[in-house]
Symmetry: C2
């Protein structure tokens, strides 16, 4: 089963399109691990998947604490994504992807800026061999994203001026990516990118809440999944926050 299908089934089964971003603030490794599990215990019924990033991998160790969180997540029947934003040369990219897949992650994120040949080709090849997913960054959620993702570039074949994120969305289609990340802080970009990707490549959207993105704007523009971190993990009541975000997203998803 492809990662895209796995996510589709998970969303249907759980009745949620929320991916929890487990980006906890710096702390002692043992406390980070117990906080991660405690957070998941509280909110996992409101999620369709979990996303982890380097805030946990570096202090906990991949084949140590991180693998415990991966196992816990899988035990609840949820997929887990490693947000490693791969952007190195091919043999390093392959080693990174292989390690995360071996540790149990169902998908990795990668930056299409690095290109195909000697860049992301080995990542897509490894993903295919190990039946896992690759999600491409198409437009990130922070302000500085406009410098790179938002810049105007020359399309090599036509020499037309187009936006960088349009080039990346087209790569997501031609490389058969399992998902595209587009920041909820830029709903007009979600709409434009969704018009290219249609329903072939689902949009994952980080940035609602803490970063200022609106759930309604992101979903109505075409985001399929919301990646939510601090709006849940930093909430006074993470359970209520997770339930509220799930329900709000579901309301607008139904209207699509």
């Amino acid at each position: 089963m492809s990662f895209q299908l796995e996510m589709d089934r998970s969303a249907k089964k759980t009745g949620s399109n929320i991916v929890l971003a487990l980006d906890l603030p710096p702390d002692q490794p043992s406390r980070l691990l117990s906080k991660s599990i405690k957070t998941l215990e509280m909110v996992h019924t409101y999620l369709c998947a979990v996303k982890m990033n380097r805030q946990l991998v570096l202090p906990l160790g991949l084949y140590d604490g991180v693998q415990q969180i991966v196992k816990w997540t899988h035990d609840q029947g949820l997929p887990i994504i490693m947000d490693c934003k791969i952007n190195d040369v091919g043999h390093t990219n392959r080693a990174i992807a292989e390690h995360y897949y071996k540790a149990g992650f169902d998908a990795v994120t990668a930056n299409p800026f690095v290109g195909w040949d000697g860049g992301l080709q080995p990542v897509f090849k490894t993903a295919k061999q190990m039946h896992r997913g690759v999600i491409l960054l198409v437009y990130m959620s922070h302000k500085g994203a406009e410098e790179g993702y938002g810049q105007t570039v020359q399309e090599p074949k036509t020499e037309r001026r187009i936006h960088q994120y349009v080039v990346f969305a087209k790569k997501a289609l031609s490389w058969n990516a399992d998902g595209a990340v587009v920041g909820a802080t830029y709903p007009e970009k979600i709409r434009e990118i969704h018009a290219i990707l249609k329903n072939q490549v689902p949009i994952y959207s980080p940035g609602v809440g803490a970063q200022g993105g609106s759930i309604e704007a992101a979903i109505t523009a075409g985001a399929r999944y919301l990646i939510v971190g601090r709006s849940i993990t930093f909430a006074e009541n993470p359970v209520e926050a997770a339930k509220f975000i799930r329900d709000t997203a579901n309301q607008f998803l139904k209207e699509q």
Copy 2:
């Protein structure tokens, strides 16, 4: 002392401008650790610094095996660079940089594509606070680099068409980066980028040997340091390979 000055002194003291890229092929963690130390024991006298990447961090663990290698390298008086190619949002980037600096790394690499605001600004701030370095990717060594680093973009202010790597070289200057990575496989790009950076930001050039780059071409075009991995680590005689590469580089550096 700034990282740039630290590298300058190390090169003068060791009589070498070679940075060893410790990117060993996948293996058991204990064997990877012993191979790393064994390789360093053999060749460290021919180096001015060491560069590590995720091929070691993921299996060995940052605060475990990796820190042993960092300590070993420092005990020989050599700086060590973490090639983590930072390209995430600000709070994650800061966490990544802080972890690597805390583990002892003297510098990290970062991708300027991510932009400043909410992107690399927190990395440069952390580097300044902890007296460490940031090296920016300006043109990578693999073939697919032309898709991103080599593309033509529109300069926001002037609307002129310029190359992406020219934009990145200018950012390296204005952000006060401690170094710029430009692949030895593209000597004409080194020359063009060196003309922008002059001697304010030294060029680190990977890709000689295994990837096809020439030492002479890279150095005469303006590279200050050569990052060499497989041409040393995979050589039948790593000591002779390291000595030969150091001496060849020195010969052309003298002619500059």
